[in-house]
Structures are given as C-alpha cells and as structure tokens.
Symmetry: C2
Subunit: 552 residues, 2 copies
C-alpha cells in the first residue's frame, strides 16, 4: 500500500524557485572577473536571468540530457548558467580550469559538451583547446561585449548578448527526479579522468542533508562565501544550500588571495565560508602580517585535504571561529563526514576537542559508512582498528559516466553489498568520528594484517636529521609485504639505520618496525605536494629486503 | 538521461539505523506511565527492542500494509512500536485518546486496525470500545505483566511479554519509498474524521526539512522533549528528527502539567521542546507562582493554535527562550510555516520582532505556499491582502485514506493546480511571513470582496462592556453577504449598537462596518474554546439585516 502524499519530484529548479519566491531581494555579491570590483545582484534577478539562459539554450538546440559546460569562477553568472541549464534537464558540466589544457580537452570530448561558457581569465585555455573540440557548437564568454576577449575561435559570443532579448520566464522541471543534472570529472593519480553524473534527486537530498544544523547549518541570516569553486563538486553543495535557506551569497570570482578574501569577509559581513587549507594559509598569513582579525566570521568548513593543526588552532584559538573539518569526494557530491563535535566532546577539555577536530568527522543522515577488512568483516569502532572505508547513500556514485573506470561486468563501481569503495583506509572511534589513515593502495599488508604507511611516516619525519620520510611495502616471501622506510635527510645530516629504528621504538607496534631503511637525496612529490608513492614503488620495485633474503 | 547515483530509498528505518549506528548510547528518558518516575533507555536499546517488535508483529501475521494502532503517550515503548511496525512496511496508526470512545471506535474500524497497543492510562477507553472492534486481533498493554490492567477484553497481553524471546535483529526496509508508513485521522468541525496516510518518503523528507537550521534546527548536542504527542502528526516530526540528528530525547509520558514539565526540563537539561499553547500556560503559571526559571531551555516550538502574545513575551522577555511559532496541519505532516526571523527582522527593534513572531511564519524548502482569490489569482505579498491559503509539497496529502472527504471524481482532495486547500484565509507579507486571518468558511464575501470576521472580532472584543464578540455573514440581496456583529456583554453592561459601531470607526475599513449588532447572553464556544460559528450561523440563519430590507 502506498502513502497518499503529493508527487513533488526533487528537482533543483525548485531550490532557486524557493529563493526567488521567499528571498527575492537577498543579495548575491560577486567580485567581478572583469574589473575586480564588487557587483550586486539578488535571487530574484538571478532567477530571471537563469530563465533567459534556459530560453537561449533551447533556441540553440540544447535538449534534455545535452551537456552544457562551464570553465568558470564562482560568480552570479555561473549560477545563472547552472540553474538555467539544469532547469530544462540539460546537464551542467563543470570543467576544472586548473587541469592542463590537454586534459580539459580530453574531458570535454569525453563528455561531448555542446556549448562551453567560460570566464575571460580562461581565454588562453579556450584558445588552446578550441580546435580540438569539434563537437562544441558555441563558446560563450561570461562577460559583456565590451570585455569580450580577443581569441580566434569560431562561434564566440558574449554572455550578455547570448541572453539578451530572451523571455524571463521558461518552464523548468517536470521531469523524473533521477534525471541527470550535473557532471564533474575526478582525476585520480592513474588512468583517465572519470565523470560523476549527479542527478536532480541526489543534489536536492545532498543539500537538505548539508543544511542540517550539525552539518553546514546555514540559515537566512548567514552570509555565505563559497571559496571552494563550483567546479569542485558543486562548491561543496553551497550552490544549492544557500538558495535553499535564503543565505546571502558572496562569490569571490577570480581573486582567492589573502587580501581579497579578507576584504570580502569584512565588507560583506561574511559569517560562513568554505575552502581548502591552502586558501586559509594565505588568509592567515595576511591577517598575522597586518595584525587584522575577521570580525563577522563564525564558521569555516575546511576540506579537500586534512586540516593542518596550525590552521585549526589559529581559527579557533586566535579568532574564535569554529572550524568544521570536512571530508568527502567528488563521487559523494561531495559530503562524507563533518567534524561537528558531540556533547561528549563539549564536556571534555579544549585539547580533547582539538584532537577530535583533527579527525575527519562523523556522517550526517544520508551517508552510511563502514570500515572493513579485505574479507568485508566490520572493524571495531575503537579509533585504532583500520580498514577500507566504504560508503553508501543517495548522493554517492554507483557508476561513472560512460562506465569509465568500471569495476564489474555491469559497468558499475559497486561493491557487491552496494557500498562505494573510497580507496581510503580509516579508523572510526567510539563516538563515530572517522579518521583517514592511509590510501588503500599505500597500506602495507603484512601476514594478513595492515600497517599504516602514514602513521610511520608521521613519526619518522620527527627523527633528528630527517627532512622527509616515506614508507612503502616491499614484497616478502613469508609476510607478503614488509615496510621499507625511505628517508630524505636534512642538508648535511646523515642519520643511520640504527638511529632511525631506535627512534621508532616504543612509538609504533614492534611488528610495524620497517625491515630496512634507505636514504635518498630527494623524496619525489606530486603536484599537490603529497609524496609520490607511485614513483617510489617504481624506483624500489626490485628492492630486496635483508629479511626477505633470510626467509628464502 | 538519468544520473548515476546510488539507489537509496527514503525509508524511515534508515533514520533509527542512523541513530543506532552513530549514537547508540544517546539517552531516551521516559517518565514512566506506570510509576511516574524517570526511566532511561537509549537509541541502541530502542533499536534492538523495535526489532523484537517487528519479529513479534510478523509472528502475529502482520503483513506489509496492515494497520497497527497505538493509543499511547510519548514513551520509549511507543517509539519502539513505531519503528518496529514501520520498519516492516506495516502502517503505524496513532489513535487520539482525547476523542470520545465512540469516535475512536469509528476511526479504528475505518482504519481496519489489526492490533492495538495502549498505555494503561487508557484501559477504560479500551474496555469501552473493544466489543465494537471485531477486526482487532490483539490488544497489547504497553507495560509489563505486573502492571497489566484488569480489563475484560479478549487477547490481552503485556508488551514485555509480547516482545519477550524475539530476536533483536530483523530485516527492515527494502521496499518502495512511497510505501505507506503512518496513518493519522483529522477531525474537522463537520463530517467524519479523515485519515492522512503518510509515506516513508514523505516522513523522511519532512524530517530532513525540519532539521534545517532555520526550522527546528536541532543537533546532537540538543536535548529534545516532544510534549506534543506522537498522535498529533508524528509529534511534529520529532519522532524522526531526534534520531536523525542524534539528540537526546525526553519523553514526558502521561504527565503534561506545569510541575512535571518543569522537572523534566531541569533534571534532564532540555534545550528544545514543542507543545500547544495550553501546555505553556500551565508551565508559565507554575514558574511565576514558584519564582522559578528554566535554566537550560533555548528554544520552544509553539503551534496547534496561534501563540498568545503573553506567552511569547514571557518566554522571550522573561526567560530568554526563543519562541518558534509554527503553523501546520495533520495533512502537512504537519509542518507548514515556522516563525524563524529573517535578517531584516534582526536589524529592527524588539517590538517589530515580537510583531513578526506573532505571525505564523515562513515556509521551509519543501513547502510551497500561495494566497489566492476565488478565481485562483495570486494576492500580493503586502501583509494586507488576504485570500485562500494553498500549499504544495512532498509531505502534503493529495487524498485521504479510502477517499474520505474526497473533493473530485478521482477521489482526490486536490485543487486542479496540484495545491492543497488548507481551508484557511491568510495574508503573506513582503518578507514572506504568513498570517492566518480567518477560516475560509468564516470569511464574509461582500460584493466580491472579502471581509475577515476575526479582524473585526479582535477589535470589537476590546470595546467597553464587551465580554466576547463574534462576526458572521448574513445573506444580503445586493452584496451577497454582509457582516453581523454579535456581542456577549460583560455582566451588568449593555453597550448600544451606536457605541459599538462608533468604537469600530477608524479601526476597520468603512465598508467592513457590520450592518447590524445583536446582543446575546452567551456566545457558544466549541470544545477547544473557539467560537462555534456553526451554531451561530444556525441561530441566525433567518436573520434579516435592516440594510437587506432597504435594498429589496
């Protein structure tokens, strides 16, 4: 027997409709990409212009399911294209301008983008890739005719001309809530980029979950500045969360440096913002140098990579700003866990709270999470036992676009039990707080037990004379794998094998002790500053551990 | 093209699963119906006992779609039956013990309840109705064998015996999210009671919407006490909201008097509670008499009827507790609007805020609302123009159970445009705050324009010598209807027609002025203390206005 409630499909056009209906004059302030000055719009105006986008797209032959791409900063125009495309059932594909032009071209071709909207900052990228994208029927520069960049590409038009003269009303929604709404590619360290295809339903449910008090907890009295770009998994849902709750939006455009971020915070009275740690390092340095402090900011969400303790302490201890440590993935829309404290933490002392906040946090309703061993057995929630981190929920990918990166014969990346394998290794503590301890491919499997490479590295890097430390697994005839400690000494230092192993003694389990130590001139780093374990594994692929020789 | 996200049906078993997985030791404290003392459970225990309920229900032959009824206070056992029944696809039907036994019997028969769980307080009701309910296969008293009431009914068993020995694991969910989950009858002033059939989807979406910061805004650090009963539209969603966010629950059982409510608040450190105004009158009187004040309470949701200004001011001004004025209906699950202020109000003075809080409030995302005239034309959002209040959303009824009270040939109670007609007349102001001005059937339609009976009554009741005032529409040959003012004078007073009309002058529009005034000994009141307009219309059905005679 079915319930007798109204049929109200969860489509994202309802989110902007809600804002237009209830908060038409709430501001959307954008730092103009053309001039660098702050310009003002509001939900009513963005709604009307998004309707113009819809009509212009339809006139250009864009049909439901067609991909409409953006190569753009966070601006009110980006938001207009966003809702204008999604509202008519087209798929808004955010291209990441930080990738190499060849990667962007590969992705745009794989996605079969029909139109590409781009900020003038990215004109050089467009010039470099346009010839490689025969399927693109039009290029729309997110500006007016006056600021149109001088790039030699066919079918170029200024955004203001593109929408000019179109009606400010257009039919939105009316389709199945499982209809595709957005596409975002994730590029791992290996293989081709893979597209995550969000649905209207997944975006709406994700935003509702994010709007809960213990998650982002934004309301109509908040002023929200998403520094995290819309091309990073929907600006961590803020593109939906803000209109859903009626918060004023501050869009930073192309300027993400400390002084610009600070000016936005203060002049617009921002209460809530979100970004990766590197942005905060820039802001905090600027604040310290100039003896300034944020006066209206209440909460920052920090994700993308683990929150450095110094950043956490600076916000919470120096400026009284609450840090919400987040973890997620493009495949999770992206919200996985949030470091919102529990009553048990609030009852404890400050240092306990700081320690808890350094963990990746707990799941909101709509995210299920578990940590398992290789056989799928649950690991205890003791904050120590680690295993593969699996997740499930309505805003988590079950497959990639065009089955890229598929893991099973059905083209799905699913586990048999319906969980998505994050590729991370983690612990969950007694209160449900999760902590990432390693990437699954970096964990060392010794005699059926797992050794965390990151745990050993974090300790070894503190040994005298050590500049950097890496641990990788080396094949072993008896134990399958055993850890090898690789040390980059500080200039002029030459710590010995015995000194280093002695330093680890008592700090890690005895059986975690590396079987050998090698000194290298330089530990290779990836583009994001993380240790390039792939390169290290290649370098040491024929390395023979002394213990292996003994066991043979 | 569909998105590629996981299939994760929105079923309510996931809500309690989430609580059990993430907050197993968070307390659920109940004031025992048997002893009046506080007893302690938690989400882990309630989850396990709810599983026992599921197994016991299955053993009794309860199948998906079968109705399982409760006649019960807010207790942890009620919560166990709730999730135990819904988890296996049965429909949890909350009977309202405040109705007359004959009404309860009518409803239980209409619903075809198979089993009825009841608190021992209600044994007399059960004794009175059992013989009239041939389809009921079993009566389960929510107690242990020791406290089993001595009622002469067949198939009576104590709850603790009912679940004893059953496994603490059972399969939940796995069905379509539109499956019926709950049934709650609403009794209007006319006609038979009508059943609202909630779905799993509607309950989950409603709870997610209610958990937003600007709605109930509860989190894991809150201690939530639902005084509003679970038989009043799911305790206004709190039965779902609290486990969803991990809040501690305080269940008041049968004791809703001032001293008991105060003891619960203080001993359990309640931060958030919800009830109808009468409960608060009791608490506030007790606080004043005993010179006490709540020390941990932060927010109260008040709904069911309009918040009296004195109650609002007492909480906000005397005790620093935020009042959230709510409006809703059983047909809306029940959330319609919430009086959470906007930045525009926070920027204004205290009296402006009080005035705003006396309105019924604004809609959260998932509720659409509009005010229209008889032809369906939108009325402006000016806080003055009133019209019929229509609503739409995923947790709003589209029909009643078994088509009771159906309004169209399909058995649906829909408007043609898909909106539900609330039967209320309301205004919406510039900021989106709605205010109920009348019931649609009480509004007076004069020359195609509407006159609010309540507006005139509220003013007339302040005239010298007036104890109570009512306004009804009387047939008029020229204007269709014109207002008649009915006055109940204070003892010994005898205000004249001229004095009363003079008093209204300048306070209402000239054309709203009643065409006549009559004095009566007593204005009839309904069971809830509201003016019984139905009786007044009956009394004055042949009344001839002097202006009508003149126009004929």
């Amino acid at each position: 027997m079915f319930g007798l409630m109204q049929d109200w499909p969860l489509t994202v056009d309802k989110v902007l409709d809600h804002a237009k209906q209830n908060f038409p004059r709430r501001e959307i302030v954008t730092r103009s990409v053309e001039t660098g000055a702050l310009s003002r719009s509001n939900y009513g105006t963005v709604w009307r212009r998004a309707k113009q986008v819809s009509n212009a797209l339809r006139e250009r032959g864009v049909r439901p399911g067609d991909r409409v791409a953006t190569l753009a900063w966070n601006t009110e125009r980006h938001l207009e294209v966003w809702y204008g495309a999604m509202g008519i059932g087209a798929v808004l594909h955010t291209l990441n301008p930080r990738l190499f032009p060849d990667q962007i071209a590969w992705i745009a071709n794989h996605a079969e983008d029909k139109l590409i909207f781009f900020d003038i900052t990215f004109a050089p990228i467009v010039a470099a890739i346009a010839a490689k994208l025969p399927q693109v029927e039009g290029w729309i520069a997110l500006t007016d005719r006056e600021h149109l960049p001088a790039v030699e590409i066919p079918n170029l038009i200024a955004y203001e001309d593109f929408i000019a003269g179109h009606a400010q009303e257009a039919a939105w929604g009316g389709f199945d809530e499982n209809t595709a709404a957005g596409l975002c590619y994730t590029s791992g360290t290996t293989g081709d980029p893979k597209g995550v295809l969000y649905s209207h339903r997944s975006n709406v449910l994700h935003a509702l979950a994010a709007n809960q008090t213990d998650v982002f907890g934004a309301g109509a009295s908040d002023v929200v500045m998403p520094i995290v770009p819309m091309f990073h998994a929907n600006a961590w849902a803020i593109s939906f969360v803000a209109p859903m709750c009626g918060a004023k939006l501050v869009m930073p455009g192309a300027k993400l440096d400390g002084p610009s971020v600070y000016e936005n915070l203060e002049s617009e009275k921002v209460t809530f913002t979100a970004a990766v740690p590197t942005v905060w390092l820039g802001l905090l340095a600027f604040l310290r140098e100039n003896k300034l402090r944020p006066t209206t900011l209440k909460r920052v969400v920090i994700g993308g990579s683990a929150v450095p303790e110094a950043v956490l302490r600076a916000f919470e201890e120096d400026y009284g700003v609450e840090v919400i440590h987040g973890w997620g993935m493009t495949e999770m829309s992206p919200m996985g866990t949030l470091g919102k404290l529990l009553p048990e933490h609030y009852a404890a002392d400050h240092e306990t709270q700081i320690k808890a906040k350094l963990k990746q946090g707990r799941v909101p309703f709509t995210v299920e999470m578990k940590v398992v061993d290789d056989e799928g057995n649950l690991k205890p929630h003791d904050g120590k036992s680690f295993g593969r981190l699996l997740v499930r929920g309505p805003a988590i990918a079950r497959a990639y676009f065009k089955s890229a990166g598929a893991k099973n014969e059905k083209g799905e990346c699913l586990e048999p039990c319906g969980f998505f394998d994050t590729g991370d290794v983690a612990t969950i503590d007694e209160l449900g707080l999760m902590q990432i301890t390693d990437r699954a491919k970096d964990v060392i499997k010794s005699g059926g037990e797992w050794i965390s490479s990151i745990d050993i590295e974090n300790i070894a890097v503190g040994a005298p004379g050590v500049a950097n430390a890496a641990v990788i697994g080396i094949a072993h005839p008896k134990w399958d794998e055993r850890p090898l400690l690789i040390i980059e000494p500080q200039p002029g230092a030459s710590p010995t094998r015995e000194q280093l192993l002695k330093f680890l003694e008592g700090k890690i389990a005895k059986w975690w002790t590396p079987d050998d130590v090698v000194l290298v001139e330089k530990i290779p780093l990836g583009a994001t500053g993380k240790i390039n374990k792939l390169a290290l594994r290649e370098t040491f692929k024929d390395y023979k551990l002394p213990t292996a020789q003994a066991a043979e």
